[in-house]
Subunit: 258 residues, 2 copies
DNA sequence: CGGATCTTTGAGAGTGATCAATCACAGTGG
DNA sequence: CCACTGTGATTGATCACTCTCAAAGATCCG
């Protein structure tokens, strides 16, 4: 739809074609955007703000420690927000997909790096202009609040996954997340899920090692819960079983007041 | 300062004394607030919005799953944002202290419960009024953005802790966080830290068990890095050593692009 | 087809969890 | 004032899940 205005990938820098306006939209998943109030002059203004830019797989979009001059919105592809320690441990705080805004909320220098998981197309915004725009357009800033709220909610869910789930529960949780983000209707008999990231990415997102991820995947396959077309294309044969594993992360009855 | 207007604790509901205006302020830690632009009528409006309310230790402020009718700001004490699974696993997503806003960003029902760690005094805001206020006061909503950003940053730091740090590193990280929140100057020779939460709370925040927390504390004590006045009052004898343990969570040189 | 990278699988080790008992402390009442 | 009780914290012994080290198997791409 509005996406077509942006070239699907012209390495290192999206070419030609005028930037398309994509309204800030709510939630981390954010599917349908681009509706809601936008006076014509708003659109005109934002057209100057958004600079389309593309990155090849595994390229760094910005580094932890850099001064935060830009923020970005994902047009297509997947971005990882991650950090590496001196001794090589890596943690991925979030995966950003279509519609997600990132790089906006660091106050000082970027606290995490942003890297392209796949080839990606982004819209880049100069932070200072972006902030100025927000000051002028209160409605937009309230929509941004909702978007941030969604990201915070996701981060807190992630906290549960990292702090209290077993390996198999973490994997189940991720697979269902991916399915949901790809718009699969939960409750379906069988779902095909594209896994854009490597085993290492999965491991670093879930707080595990590559080996554990691989072994756990194999265990799920052995039980017939999932099967592989390729390593990056998983078929969820029994989503209900995965739901059961992942359920620890989400639902829960209200219990005693302790 | 502005705190004095609110009674330090009158069980179940803060008594008398008119609500004091506390401006939304930035960052998760947020020390000095109450400055910045506030026209007199803004103050007057907010005075009607904020309802002071107190909770005794371990009381629930709201339950996961409830419809989110209110949001809160901490005036004094500590609040935990947590979730319990059916099988009893608990994860604390965050501790909220003076100046922190919580209960605002859940879109649907509350995803986490909020409970009083200590006796607390809060300001309660009706969400619908709060939102209406934001719509009328853009500056306030941008300040809220900054506050939310801070909380998101904290959540992402927490992600690193839960996903990649060892028990001793997690403890070091928490102790330094507490010290910082209490305004201790880092780099000091020796710091006394109040630990308002129980070992169980610490364990559930750090993704460990009570026993591991206890053992790790003992190990640190044995090495002379910390010592106890009581279980809830820790003296950091060698903050530098703790910094070294915790450093994995924060700093890190920029490395290869992988 | 060869070489690099990614993934899977195996064997063994280790950190933190579990199960269990003791200890410390605050509150209560005799 | 001091036993009694209940909760929270500490310590111990053992277990298990995941990590580490290692090698083989896939997959991709020139």
């Amino acid at each position: 739809m509005y996406m077509t205005a942006i070239p699907e990938l012209t390495p290192t820098r999206a070419a030609t074609a005028g930037p398309s306006y994509i309204s800030l939209c709510e939630g981390g998943s954010s599917r349908d955007c681009a509706r809601a109030q936008r006076a014509d002059r708003d659109v005109a203004f934002l057209e100057h703000l958004a600079e389309p830019i593309a990155y090849l797989k595994n390229r760094t979009i910005y580094y932890q420690g850099d001064a935060p001059q830009n923020c970005f919105r994902v047009v297509s592809g997947t971005v990882r927000i991650c950090r590496i320690t001196e001794d090589g441990r890596r943690q991925i705080a979030a995966f950003q997909t279509r519609g997600d805004l990132f790089g906006w909320f660091d106050q000082g220098p970027y606290r995490y790096s942003a890297e392209a998981v796949t080839d990606v197309v982004l819209e880049r915004y100069r932070r200072e202009r972006f902030d100025r725009f927000l000051a002028l357009h209160p409605a937009e800033s309230r929509r941004l609040l909702r978007s941030l709220s969604g990201q915070l909610a996701i981060a807190q869910e992630h906290t549960m996954v990292l702090g209290r789930l077993t390996a198999i529960e973490r994997l189940a949780s991720l697979l269902l997340d991916l399915a949901r983000r790809q718009g699969s209707v939960t409750g379906a008999a069988s779902i095909t899920v594209a896994v854009p990231m490597s085993r290492k990415d999965i491991a670093d997102y879930l707080g595990l090692t590559i080996e554990t991820v691989s072994r756990t995947m194999s265990a799920l396959k052995a039980r017939g819960v999932i099967s592989f077309r390729t390593t990056r294309n998983v078929r969820l044969n029994e989503p209900a079983v995965l739901e059961r594993y992942a359920s620890a992360a989400r639902s829960s009855a209200v219990l005693e007041t302790v």
